[in-house]
Symmetry: C2
Subunit: 418 residues, 2 copies
């Protein structure tokens, strides 16, 4: 990691700038894929499977026999781990349910919200080097709690852990397609793949571009995506080996992973750097991690106030506070995706099994976006009831405002009832 000592405030912005992604070129390649799936349906899906994945798709839908036998292909230890993660994630997301409260805003005027699961949602799980069954849990569990009637899963992977996690979440419709074409299939529907109203899940830049393009056509998506990132704020109470392990667990995701260390202690920064070298040496994905670290930086700052200003500006997807009084200090953080407190709370706990969701805003999106939660899978419909007396109480207000906005029919709809 590059070490930057006591940067000037005027340099913060440049220091914290993330690499820009020009997706215009990618969009130009993705748009025709979307168009073909929209107009040709399953035929296009089969073609693209052959072209991009070199797969001759016998059936687009995963046979239920494949899903059923998944459990038998996994070790008991892994199944038990998946069950424990399921339980914790379920508990945390179940607690996000809210009971609608009826509010009488004036006598005879009652308003409330009712929460309904989005009827049809789609989950995309990429293939590639890591079979992301954890993401199946992170998206499938809140969808299940929300009561989404139809949960569609598209994945080019046939890893049994993905299928096993899916069946735990009550997902029965799995389609063996990947890439931009899978996003298109869920956005438009094909003969085989049902259309959904909201699409969730990670993917490469083609998948991301496809999600942005269908979003523009009115299909909701979880959130815009960018490379994964962690910021660690460490003081002298931090354990350098733990901090290094956390930085590496982010860096191993890919060469574009963003890793940031902020500290008031030069000693800690040096110790972490030494630990990085040591731990990197024995890491299977060392090639990814070491490239990611080359682009990463450790920033030494004068005091906590500056550290917090920097970290709030950066708005990290994951923020680890390896400091004294971590919980108290976390109150001053207002921009981050998820916060990890103290020396025994590694990011990987939240990535897998502590209960929080790992689908989080990257690339500074934490300034305006929350991570995925139960909220992401429901709509809150407002409902109101006004009595004959209520409209007498409220009527004058509405009429006055409607007429001032020159919307007389709005006023009439009240006058006629009074």
């Amino acid at each position: 990691m590059k070490i930057i000592k006591y940067p000037k405030q005027s340099d913060y912005q440049a220091l914290l700038t993330r690499p820009t992604q020009d997706i215009a070129v990618i969009e130009q390649r993705v748009a025709p894929i979307l168009y073909r799936v929209k107009t040709e349906g399953d035929i296009a899906l089969r073609d693209f499977a052959l072209i991009f994945d070199k797969v001759h798709l016998e059936s687009i839908e995963m046979p239920s026999t494949e899903i059923e036998k998944a459990a038998s292909l996994l070790s008991d230890d892994l199944k038990q781990a998946i069950h424990q993660a399921y339980k914790n994630i379920h508990k945390f997301h179940e607690a996000q349910k809210s009971t609608p409260e009826k509010i009488e805003t004036m006598a005879g005027v009652t308003c409330w919200r009712k929460t309904v699961g989005i009827d049809k949602v789609g989950v995309y799980i990429p293939g590639g080097t890591a079979p992301l069954f954890s993401t199946v849990l992170m998206l499938g569990i809140p969808a299940q709690i929300a009561g989404c009637r139809e949960i569609v899963l598209c994945t080019p992977s046939n890893h049994p852990a993905i299928l096993y996690a899916a069946s735990l979440c009550g997902i029965t419709k799995v389609y063996r397609i990947g890439g931009a074409q899978a996003i298109a299939a869920m956005a438009y529907g094909t003969e085989t793949v049902p259309q959904v109203y909201k699409i969730f899940g990670p993917g490469n830049q083609y998948v991301t571009a496809a999600k942005m393009l269908v979003n523009k056509e009115g299909i909701a998506i979880d959130m815009p995506a960018g490379p994964s990132e962690v910021a660690v704020y460490a003081d002298d109470s931090a354990n350098p080996a733990f901090v290094a392990a956390d930085l590496l667990s982010q860096a191993e995701h890919g060469v574009d992973s963003q890793v940031l260390l902020v500290s008031t202690s030069e000693k800690i920064i040096e110790a972490v750097n030494e630990e990085l070298t040591k731990q990197l040496a024995v890491l299977p994905r060392a090639d990814f991690a070491s490239k990611a670290l080359e682009n990463s930086q450790a920033i030494l700052v004068e005091n906590q106030e500056i550290a917090l200003a920097l970290l709030n500006d950066y708005a990290a997807e994951h923020l680890i506070l390896s400091i004294e009084n971590a919980e108290e200090v976390s109150e001053k953080i207002y921009q981050a995706g998820s916060i990890f407190l103290g020396n025994y709370t590694p990011e990987s706990a939240g990535d897998y099994a502590s209960g929080t969701n790992h689908t989080l805003p990257t690339n500074g999106y934490a300034r305006a976006y929350s991570g995925v939660s139960l909220d992401s899978f429901v709509k809150k419909i407002t409902v109101q009831h006004i009595t004959k007396e209520g409209i007498q109480n409220l009527g004058k207000t509405i009429i006055e405002m409607a007429e001032a906005e020159s919307l007389d029919a709005h006023a009439n709809a009240v006058k006629i009832r009074m």
Copy 2:
């Protein structure tokens, strides 16, 4: 209104199709406007004000003296109405606050969410025929409750009711700019206009296209927009004059407004049609309304089951249930922006003053999106704390899963702590 009697189920989809909007052409015109504001800042804003609004902008920021004198330019009745609306909207949105609950998912593993207002938000209020001060309340009040530190308002209108509503909501930064260039100013920031992280508010198709384009660049927006719409479901208990008044209050918005009447009663449909003719004759915005009605339809259906299936499929922005047992029936509605129950609950109550928000999903977006609420102005940051014992309890689960996903550094971050 066209009357369609007992349509076949196979015709539903065609019947309920909304006019498609091709925004590609508009985007091509909007993109260079965004680019100029991004690169030239205030100079571009002044140029566009001259070109599009024929206004020579002395100062881009609204002078505080203008805001201060707004109150003196309004009648006491209107001010009182705005205050009453403020009070009701505030009460309903204040009740949407949630207290974070700490969840111990396993012994020593505690997770919660903390709610923080989005630091900087922007509100756009169009100029045009109707001064939408009600929208200032609908966006300003939840922003105020959420504790957004900076609330920026852009509007080409200098109507005192807009400025008055803004100051009630604690908005002190008002900029006299409109159109796509106003959205660009808030998205990128200029010398005068602060950059924001999320942009709210209605507008014409240029504004809408600008919001979609900046959204693709990572600026959050309230939701995709389309023409306003109402569906009324009426049975024999409905009052035809009320129903007609509600349909007209939607139709007067513009020629592209969508109006739908669904009924099991031919008598009611005929009576509503007669009332429409009668009420339309005396309406100031009759030209808009009558054109909107030409594209609208009344659908006669066999029974309530069919009515509800149609209405759920349509996913109306506003749904008025002028029927017996309206609240009970509303339980079966799972796709709508906002529901109005019974004969004395006109849409205009929710448009102005009952307390619910009037920024709602149009164009079928209610299938996946909720209307604006306090939630729209906050982020929920997950926080977790694991004790030394907690990581012993959870560790094995994380290690097992991380290794199965081939992410060894994720596993290491736990092993090193155990």
